[in-house]
Symmetry: C2
DNA sequence: CTGTTAGCGCATTCAT
DNA sequence: ATGAATGCGCTAACAG
């Protein structure tokens, strides 16, 4: 037998569906004993309101859509964790969607219309306008680290350039000179900006930049490490554009018998939880992506409450110096 | 201006709403030129179907609800990754929900009614009947590693007992005798079964079990390591009920100057991606949770296609021996 | 082939 | 305080 509807409850309780609705939704204009009766009948019938129907009638879903580039690796998992925590605290459901390629990403976004009240999109690779083109302009959307766009959506931008610059400064202060940058994929906003910061700092110190292009995955780090190991005048520092690549390199160096940081320093970006668990612990730039995710939900909630928000909020990553770039290897990861 | 509805398109295209629906949904009984015209008008108006309304009318949402215990740590992230990959491939949306405490978990499940066609629930701590009590029996539900339940839902069970037993055998074969088990929280199904397997193997070999209770988080591992370090007749192996605790201990031993595995072997459970990246790489039992997640979606899809499924599918974890339990520390994690 | 109509399940006017 | 009727946006059955 199919699920009980409000009509079934009304019939069984011998009242109208309007009364059932009012009783169950806690309206005041229902006699106390009628309310109790209706509630009892509803429970007995195992009645659960049909959220879809309700949201159609209310023009409000109490859900927000989340578009992430990927779920592989800790970075986006952390973002999702932050989003989920705040959304749950606010009683908002989460409709999840990942960019499994442009096509499916856009498709999946289309299907969010009528299902969610707002969107959070993190897509450093994709022009969000391309995605939003197929969407009602009326859907409030908070952007996180997206490429430049004409629209004035509320958004978060990470100050990658300054952060990468600061990391190079740190490496130079630690006595490194032949600093290689393992970048993210071309066209990715974060990747490009980190490259810019790296180059700026190197040039300022009269050092020549050397950039290898990676893919933000561990494999890129491993491959780069292997490439570096055999070289005549070996690099004395590898600055990877994210932690996964840095860790891939770290492990590869280790396997090859190279000491980190004595033979070569390694630095990453993001400060994923894993960073402090590898040996030696990884120096990195803390982005605090979970906090950004949580804050994004707060902004969405504020907009849904009628607030106005077109602000670009800047996130400034913080240097987290750890053993992988420090001479004193007795520095172990903190508990 | 609000979003365009099917009526707006119909009016602008000077056809009926039925024709619009048919044209846009690719029905054959529409003249080619009419279809093109409708499509053009729809695009011009930026029309996107209201998925909520559509699913109300179709009694089908094309979405599945996912209930996870937690998003902290890699284990459940990996599960979600597996689920997401398969769901996306099948064009299913994902409504995400985590057990932020019983109350909110149950609440959130209620709101899924009318929003999803099926449920995937992973809840080793909670009796799923308690959760499903508030839900229509008609919602197909696939269970992963849930405590015993009366209902005959399709489900996945992990053979924790055999796996824990096998891990103890491995440690004994490596010459260990004073093997301590750091368990998960009491009441958690996986935790209890791993305890049972550990005890069985220890007893069979005439060794006395020693169980410390943890919480599946890194902190438990750290604390346990500290407790073990000072003891007179120190343990020569620590078998943690999951990888995060094992890694917490690994790092703590390292900081304290204890060599792993020379001074003490460490083993985990789950084989999260992180396990092979720590130093020394962690011996563990591979559960393949991402694959389970993907398979759960496949089962859901099959049920949605009219299939019948009340099977209990057993997952048998596989031993992954790595450096943390092997004498030869020249074994490094594979690339 | 196309238009008209009737719901999907619910919340909410407007009456009473 | 309660009931009857309307509509949210869409699809499908029924006519033509």
């Amino acid at each position: 037998m199919a699920h009980a509807t409000i009509r079934d409850v009304a019939r069984a309780a011998k009242v109208s569906i309007a009364t059932v609705s009012r009783a169950l939704n806690g309206h005041s204009n229902v006699r106390a004993n009628v309310r109790e009766h209706v509630q009892a009948v509803a429970t007995a019938l195992g009645y659960v309101p049909h959220t879809g129907a309700r949201s159609l009638s209310l023009a409000k879903t109490n859900a927000i859509g989340v578009m992430l580039p990927d779920l592989h690796g800790e970075f986006y998992s952390e973002a999702l964790r932050g989003i989920d925590g705040e959304a749950s605290a606010r009683g908002l459901q989460l409709l999840l969607s990942n960019m499994h390629g442009d096509q499916r990403g856009a498709e999946s976004l289309r299907f969010m219309r009528g299902r969610v009240d707002a969107l959070i999109i993190m897509a450093p690779d994709i022009d969000p306008e391309r995605l939003l083109a197929h969407l009602p302009a009326s859907l409030p959307t908070v952007l996180i680290s997206c490429p430049d766009m004409a629209a004035d959506h509320p958004q978060f931008r990470i100050d990658n350039t300054a952060a990468a610059d600061a990391m190079v400064e740190h490496l130079i202060a630690a006595g490194r000179r032949r600093i290689v940058h393992l970048s993210g994929p071309r066209g990715n906003r974060d990747a490009e900006e980190r490259i810019a910061g790296y180059c700026a700092a190197m040039t300022r110190h009269g050092l020549s930049p050397r950039i290898l292009t990676g893919n933000f995955d561990e494999e890129s780090g491993t491959a780069t490490a292997h490439a570096l190991i055999g070289e005549a005048e070996r690099a004395d520092a590898l600055f990877a554009a994210n932690d996964m690549m840095a860790i891939g390199a770290l492990v590869a160096f280790h396997r090859a018998g190279l000491a980190v940081p004595e033979d070569i320093a390694v630095a990453g970006f993001d400060d994923i939880p894993l960073a402090r668990l590898v040996t030696p612990a990884l120096t990195t730039m803390r982005v605090g992506i979970a906090e950004i995710g949580a804050e994004a939900v707060s902004r969405v909630a504020a907009i849904l409450d009628g607030g106005d928000d077109t602000e670009i909020r800047w996130v400034v990553p913080q240097l987290v110096p750890r053993a992988s770039t420090l001479a004193d290897t007795r520095e172990f990861p903190p508990a």
